[in-house]
Structures are given as structure tokens and as C-alpha cells.
Point group: D2
Chain length 328, copies 4
């Protein structure tokens, strides 16, 4: 019998649920012990219920597991949740109320950090905000951000499955993703803000985002311009990115990439098709740093939206909880 | 016998050359009387020499025309040129020196407007600048531009044929197009500048561009943010676009669209796949006007890169020359 | 007031419904006077209810029409139906029972030709069968078919909207379309069969189909091999295709292409991106005729699945009914 | 210092050359010690000279290696060659004449097995033939093939880089690949034939191929029909595939997949996007076995064209030579 911590997956058959399965396959601390999905899947073997959409094979053991009802009874204490926002809003608090620690891929705005039950919900940032935030954090720390403008070209996997219809995106760009620009602006400021007692003081820079969908499977690419308080040279900015580390690196969490941000020197990178799996999908790649005639600098950012932007982010959260003793 | 003005096409077999053939098929003033291309094509029927890449059929008459040597001897006076920049730099002046009026798709920087020969060369703006300029011109006229930031998502046809390799662009975004950002910034300022004697005083706003290639066949989409001198309401800006007309509309040139700029009300438009052929590819569509937290307003612009951005622009130039009596 | 026959469209907001709207815009005989769709659309202007997915604009007049409830009351006598098979099975007979002539895009197997009501339903062939049938008919007439093998590469628009998920088809081939191979085999035999009293004697050849989905917007491409009873030369086969005409040509129906089948000489055609709109999408193009080492000949067939294979086929049926006096 | 056999790569910067680099990175027997490419690349670091087009990173050590002139002087004895056919025809024999063992990705028709120099050239099958052959071999062994018909849908990487233009393949199918059908028919028969003294007696079945290019990055998908001498049940055929092993498995060659052919049970597989990396790209996947109304059975085959169909095939050849003592 394994010594690993048994974990459950809520919404296991979806795109992000599948990423959880994939990333947990060889995880040193966690082991999938329970999975739930919609009623349609309940009682079926996971390998049959999931319309598997990843290039690696379904892990044998998990493929044979039976999908459970989406109820706290019988679920393990640690739950990874990959639910649609509308379902998450009800189901995640219910699991937390039953004592579960829910590491969620959703952005649920207002919830108490810790329920009386001992359970709680930890949420994820938006998948287009997280890549940007990782590229901005080193700049903000060292030079102080004043203004940020970002235009995204987002992958279809960001919309889940079935998500974007092929008739909508083949040979096309869709210049609109519902509520995405608002979320991206708000969460970027919040994630680069400071904890102040119970609340967060958002970052002090101004921020504007425009979000587009493109015919890319995985990887959100962003054209970014920034103005910084302290002037910096190109080499200093690149050094800031390449030397950046944070809590996950210090704690050597299993899913933390050695280098969370990597600057690519080639004049035409990063590109989603070739660079998205950098650091097993957990590294944000940056490239094309050059002066901006309006703000100070412009550059391109790429981040894996269903790994770094979803399942991997939740996994890091869970690893952090474990490292800090919250998983008991 | 037709009363139309006989015209020639230099570089007739390429992507833009094909657009010239297509757009001239039913033209009321001009008629294709001569075509030249590379040595490989010389002496062959156009229908065999051209790797036709348009959805409409090759016009019968043109398909049977024999491709001539690319020399001024035997060429008609009016020449549409769709040449690679490197070839254009030599060949277009040679045709002008021989007395031809060369309406070119290239951006040749410094050349005298009128040769002693009576011939001259008229050039085109860059294909990503022209759509932006059409969207900006009404704003600049009515409200005064102060700052412009644009991020492009450009179609592969902008790179000619064979152009972008499929291995480079399938499921991908390329965040780099050689020299494009410089050209776009410079030409946008120039096109929105003022003639001052022999020179051009560029527009007085600041401008920054980031250029990306996406897996779209035709149509450059741009996410734009602007700051304007005079504050304007959303309705006023939309009215400025929809009511904008210029010289081609006043002169009722055959290829001029009734409305050069059209604002689309739907929340997710314009999209290249569905909107690029608006106004037979000569109309610039704009959409998604909304406030920008950094500058004043942001919106999306779409323009057909091989029609409005290339062959159609040259055709408008030729029509303007005719209307103004330059074609004799 | 127009003298045209008023027609209605059932399922007007879907992909095929939109094609009906597009093809009827300038029709000399018919005029859209009524449209119905799902409950969600009822009472809304068509231009708002339909998620328009065609490159030409929504006709102004139709865009403003209000979507009616999908009930025979108030509907005109002639109805074009573009419904999902499951809905069609109930709704089309109901309209026929109420006296309507329903020209349907569905393949409803067993229904009486003429109801007591005076109404009836005329159905369409499967969209992958029709292109093949048009390519085979001239061969069967002149040389007698013995064996047919066809492998399809079908466009995503064949699955309706939203239809195929982008995550399923970007950079992919799906070697399966539910029930498509069975339908294609059965209907090809039936369409090349003979009427015998009330029934159809299917064609006497054997037939095997394999159906694949590819990342193409419009146009089903098929790799076909045939064995024929009478040996034929390549020129004879090509002549058979190019000279083929049928009832719609003889009656000069408005939507009938002058040439229903066209052989393309180029070694690498037909291709869906460039040839699908041949004959306004009503012509089947054939190419690459060459000997087959197993059967006699192999070739490639291309047909527009939502025009020739759906809306255009129904329109031809309606025109035929009119020409034969069935529309009163 | 490593005990591995030093190997060289000719044509190291191309698509197949890059696959050699990738597959040799952790190889237990071989180590890249020399690389050559076109004059343009000579003298440059490989990491700069190669336009790297794979998702894994360039191995550090190799990225820093300097590209040598494409001449036998200084080259190691074992050479992997990934050259265009036209260049291969001259260069590979030159290396063999100089004593090299050239494991080539080209199909050079007539060359002596062993040169006086001790050098020789071992060639690869065509990339669309090899997948088919692996699916057919078990059937031929157990049931005897009589007739084979195959229609391919081939990935763009099969045409090398830059290869297929994006303007040719976005939203398209190209029903023609120069000389591919002839090669595929001939080589399939040869590979399933028997050695007879110095020559090969080709397989005794008849074979017809139709080859199409589709917008897929990697993986040739094929719709196949077969007639066999001995009648077989579906389970027997699937068992024949799943239990098939050959020399590479018996010798436990490092690059040999445990199972060279795997039957996938899902009704809509194999699909290139999700199944092409099965067995690290060395496994041929088969699916959709069902009766054929013309021949006996039809099914779908998928094989990785630049791994199993190119670099991996050559690597297996080299491993076989080593296991059999030919590498000294």
C-alpha cells in the first residue's frame, strides 16, 4: 500500500480534470483515490467516461477506477476541483463544509478561508492572468510597475470541452472572451498586490487587457507593454526574469519548475507550438524584449493555460498546503 | 474592341498579382493587356504559370494570355506591380524611366515623383498600417490622436507565396514579422501626417506596434488602444467611423467602398473569417469599442491584407490618377 | 408586392438554415416570408437570433424578420426544413399533415409521398453521398458500375453548429462519423438505382465507404476507386463527366449549374479551399483520374456539403416541384 | 569519456535531422559526435543554425556543437543521413566509399550493399509505406494478403521544412503528393516480399494507394481495405496485431517498442493528434476494424511519419546493425 496522500478529483472527465490525472500520475506525495464527474459518468470506468484529450495515455490504474457520485460521502480529505464556475459555486463549499480541503481551479470570489468543519477552499487565478503575473512579478519587485497593457491570443483549451466550435475558430481570430478582460485586469492587480490583514491591497499600477481567441490548442500568448518607475536596461530586465524564484522554488515543491520564468533569446520566440511545454508546462517563457515608443518596454509572454494556468497551479497550491502543514 | 485603358501586371503570378487579375476582371476603366512574371513563367499561358490561390476562377481570357518578359518593351503605359521588395527596387524605376506609370504594391522609400520620361511610381502603404490608418483617420480628424498602441494578428497571405511554412503556423502564433513593427509605426504616422511642400509632416501622436502572425488565410486583425486630445463619447466615436468618407468616395472611384469604415455592433466582431470580405474586401471593419483603463478607448480593427492592404489599394491609386487626369 | 412564391424556413438559424437564407436572397421564384427556429429564438429578429456563420452579410430584409413559433399555423405552403434528424422526424410530418409541402434537408426513411392534406415531404440525400453520386452517375450511365470504394475527408460544417469541437479537430483527423458510412453506402446505391412502381431498385454495384472528418470548413473531398463493366479510356471518362446533364439542366432550373460535374485538369485538384465554390457551390468537381491497380480507375471528388449537399439540393428539389406543377 | 559509439548526422538541421538529435539524446549505445548540414550552417553552433521545430528543447551539448562541412574527412564511422533525395544520391555513396556506414532516411534504389571500402548505405522505407506495412505484416503472416487498398491523409512534416506552404494547407486537403503513390505501392509490396538470394521477391498481393495531404503536424493516417486468402474473425485479426513482434523486439533493441502494433478499441481512434506518440512514436496504432462490402475488412492505421517513418526507422536499422555485429 502506498504512503501517499489520497486525493480526489471533482470534474475529472473535463480538460482540466484530465490534466489533474496526468500530472498526478507519478506524483511523489499525492495519489488519485477517488474521482467524480457529472451524472452521465457516474458508475462508469474513468477510461470509458472521459473523452481523453491528451497526448499521453490514460494511466492504467486510473482508467479502471469507477467514477463516484459527486458527493462528499466517501471522498478523501484533499479534493482537486475542476468544475464549471456555475457548478463550483455550490459544490465546492459543500465539500468544504463536509471537512474537505478543496483545491479549486475556479475563481470563487468571496468565501471564508476556513470553515468550522476544518475544510476550506483554495482557488486559482485566471489562466490568462497567471502567465502575465509571473512575467510581471520580477519587474514589479525590482523596478516597480506603473502601467501594464496586455493583448492576449488564447488557446481553445482555455474554454474547456467541447468549448470553442471548430466552425468559429478555423482560420479565424475571435476578439472576445466573455468576462475575461475584467478578470484578467482585476486578478493581475490582486496577485501583484499585498496581503494586509484579512484583505488584499491591489498593485498600484494601471492595467488594461484585450483578449482574443486563436486557433491554438494549448498556450496563451500575450503581447505586453509596460512602464516602470525605475528605469532599467534590457540586460537587467532579462536578468530579473531569469533569476526570479518564489516560495515554490524555496520549498522545492515537486511541481515547481527550477526556473519559473525563462527568457528566450531567439528573435521570434516564445511560440505556443514549440515552447508551451517548457518546464513540463510550468515555466512561463518570455521573449522579444524591446523598447516601446509609448511605454518603456514591450515583450511577448507565453504560459500553458491548462497546466500552469489551471491544474498545475492547483497542484502547486496543494503542495504548498502540504509543505506548510495544512494537510495534517 | 474595348475602350478601356490597357494595363499590365508585373509579378502577375504571385498572391497580390492574382488579386490584381481578380479585381480587374470586371473593371469599368481598366483591362489587363499584358502580364509579366519571373523567367520561369515567361512564354507560358498565365493559367498554367500561376499557381492560382483564389476561390474565384481565373478569368478565361487572362488564363490564356501569354506571360511576357519583365521588360518595358511592349508593356502598356499603366503598370500594376506586385513584386518582392528586392526586385521592385530595380525593376519599378526601370519601367518608370521607360515612361510607364507604375502603380506599385511595394513601399519604396525615396523616389522622385515624376521622371523626365513622363513615367513615375506610386507606392502603397504597408498592409498592416492601412487598416489601422483607416480606423484612426476619423478619430484624428474629429478628436485629435495623442497616443496609439496596436497589436496585430496577421494573416499568412501577407507573407506572399510560399511565404509562411505550414510547420511554422499550424496551431501556433509567431510573435515576430521582420521589420513589420518599424514599418507600421512609421507609415501610420506618415499616412496621418500632412503634406508640406515636397515633404510630409508626420502625425503628432506617439505610436507603438507589436506584430504577430496567426493561422488565418486573409485579414489582419488588430487590438488597438488610443488616447485622444478631445474627450469623446462612445456614440460620437462610432458616428465618426460610420460617417467617414475621403477622396475615393467623393470621386466615386469604382473600387471605393461606399463606406470605408464600418462599425460592427455585435460584441464579438470583427472576425477575419466572417468579416474580411465586407465591401468586397475594401472596407475596414471596427468593433468592440470600450473604455481603456490606461489610454482612453480600446477597439478591434480588421482589414483585408491582400485587397485593401495591397491590390485594392493600388487599384484605388490608379483610379485616383485617372480621375485626376494623370493617365492622359 | 412581389409575385414570388412565399416560402418558410424551419430551423432557420442553423448552418443549413443560413444557407437557405443566403441562396434565397436573390431567387427568381421564391421569397422568404416566414422563419422558425428553436424556442430560444422565437420572437427575436432573425439577425439577432442567428449566429450568422457565412461570409456574405445577412440580407437586410431577412435580418429584421421576426422568428415565428415552429408551428404550421401562419406558415406558408412551401417550407424549407433544416432540422436535426430527431426533430425533423416529428415536425416535418406535422407540417405536411397541415397541408405544407416540406422540402427537407433530412433523410427521413419511410414516409408516404403524398398526404391526404395535400402536403408532403421531399427529402435530401446525405451530404457525402450526393457529390459521389454526381461523379458516378455519368460513369454508370455510359460504362456500368461494378464496384465503388470511397474514402471521405469531410468538412466540419457537415456536423452543424456548434458541431465538431475545435479541440477535436485542430491538427487532427477523426476517422469516424456516426452512421455516415452506412448512410453513404445505402444512399449511393439508392440514388443510382431505378424507380420501379412505388419502390426503388438499388444500383447493382457493390460499394464500400470510409468516412473521416478533417479540419476543413466547407467541402467534402473523396478518394474514389471504381470498377466498370465496360472498359473505357481516360478521355472517354472525362468526356462523360464534362458532358453530363440531368433534369435540372434540361428544365433550366434557376439553381442548376450549367455543368453539374466538371473535370479539373491540374494534377493536384480539386482542393476544398480553392474549388468548393465552383458553380456557386452547386458543381461537383473531379480530378486526378488515373488507373487503379486493384479496380479500374481512381480519382478525387469534391462537393460543397452545405450547398450542393444540403440547402442547394433542397432548393433544386423545390424548383423541380415548381417546374413540374406541384407547387400549384 | 563515454563508451558509446560516436555517430554523425548528415542533414542535421532539417526536420528529420532534428528528430535524430532528439532520439539520440539519451540513447544507450550511440552518441552524437559530429553534425553536418548545408553550407549556410557550416561553422555555426547547431543551436543557432537549426530552426528547431520540436517541442522538447535542443539538448544542451548538441546545441553548442559546431556544424562541420558535409565531407567524410573527420566524420565518425556511423552516419545517420537525413538528406533531400537529390543530395542523398551523391553524398551518401561518397561517405560509404570513404568507409562510413550510412544509415539513411532516403530511398535510394540501386546500390551495392557493401562497398570495398567497408562502408555501405542502409536505406529506409517511405514514411507512408512503413505504417501500412506494420499493420499488414501480421495479417499477411497469418491470413495471407490478396488485395490492399489504402487512402492516406498525410501530415505536413512529411514534406520537410519549409515544405508545405500554409496558404496551401490551411482549411484544405491536397489530393496529390508527387511520386508518393507509386513509392507507397512499390515499397509496401517489397517490404512484405521475401529475400531471394541477392534480390527481393515482392509480396504476391495487389495494391492501390491514394495519397492526400492534410493540415496535421505529425502522423500519417490511412483508411485501408484488405482482402485476405484465409477468412478470419475480427478477434483473430485484432489478436494478430496485438501479438505481433519482429526482430527488433526479439533482440530487445533500445528503440524498439514493446508492441510494434497496437489495436485501439475506441470507436473513433486512432487520431493523429492524440495517438501519434504511442510507444514514443514508434508504435503503429490501428483501429475501427469492420467488414468491408467490397473486400473483406476495413480499418484505420496511424504512424508517426518523422519518428517511425524516418528517424526512428533509421535508428532501428542502426541498432540492428550493431546487434548483428556490423558496426564492428
Amino acid at each position: 500500500m502506498s504512503n501517499k496522500i489520497p486525493v480526489g478529483i471533482l470534474g475529472a472527465t473535463g480538460i482540466v480534470g484530465q490534466r489533474f490525472v496526468q500530472m498526478l500520475e507519478h506524483h511523489p506525495w499525492f495519489e488519485v483515490a477517488w474521482m467524480a464527474a457529472s451524472d452521465r459518468s457516474e458508475g462508469r470506468a474513468y477510461g470509458e467516461a472521459a473523452r481523453w484529450r491528451l497526448k499521453t495515455a490514460i494511466p492504467d490504474r486510473v482508467g479502471k477506477m469507477v467514477v463516484s457520485p459527486a458527493k462528499p460521502e466517501g471522498a478523501p480529505k484533499v479534493i482537486f476541483a475542476a468544475l464549471d464556475a456555475s457548478i463550483a459555486a455550490e459544490m465546492e463549499p459543500a465539500f468544504a463544509a463536509a471537512g474537505c480541503i478543496v483545491v479549486s481551479n475556479s475563481s470563487i470570489e468571496t468565501q471564508a478561508w476556513r470553515k468550522k468543519s476544518g475544510g476550506f477552499v483554495v482557488t486559482n487565478p485566471n489562466c490568462s492572468a497567471i502567465g502575465l503575473v509571473l512575467a510581471l512579478a520580477p519587474l514589479d519587485q525590482q523596478f516597480g510597475l506603473e502601467t501594464v497593457m496586455a493583448v492576449t491570443m488564447q488557446a481553445v483549451s482555455g474554454a474547456g470541452y467541447p468549448g470553442v466550435a471548430s466552425l468559429d475558430i478555423l482560420g479565424n481570430v475571435i476578439p472576445y472572451i466573455a468576462k475575461e478582460e475584467e478578470k484578467m485586469e482585476e486578478e493581475t492587480l490582486k496577485l501583484l498586490g499585498k496581503l494586509n490583514g484579512a484583505g488584499i491591497v491591489p498593485g498600484s499600477f494601471t492595467m488594461s487587457a484585450q483578449c482574443n481567441r486563436v486557433a491554438v490548442e494549448d498556450g496563451h500568448t500575450e503581447s505586453v507593454s509596460v512602464k516602470m518607475k525605475k528605469k532599467a536596461k534590457s540586460e537587467e530586465i532579462i536578468a530579473a526574469w531569469n533569476s526570479y524564484t518564489a516560495e515554490p522554488q524555496k520549498l522545492k515543491l515537486p511541481s515547481a519548475p527550477a526556473q519559473p520564468v525563462v527568457y528566450l533569446e531567439a528573435s521570434d520566440r516564445p511560440q505556443p507550438r514549440f515552447d508551451v511545454e517548457h518546464g513540463a508546462g510550468m515555466t512561463t517563457t518570455v521573449g522579444r524584449l524591446r523598447p516601446c515608443k509609448v511605454l518603456d518596454w514591450k515583450f511577448t509572454v507565453l504560459s500553458h493555460n491548462t497546466i500552469r494556468g489551471a491544474a498545475g497551479a492547483a497542484l502547486l497550491n496543494a503542495e504548498l498546503l502540504k509543505a506548510q502543514g495544512y494537510l495534517g
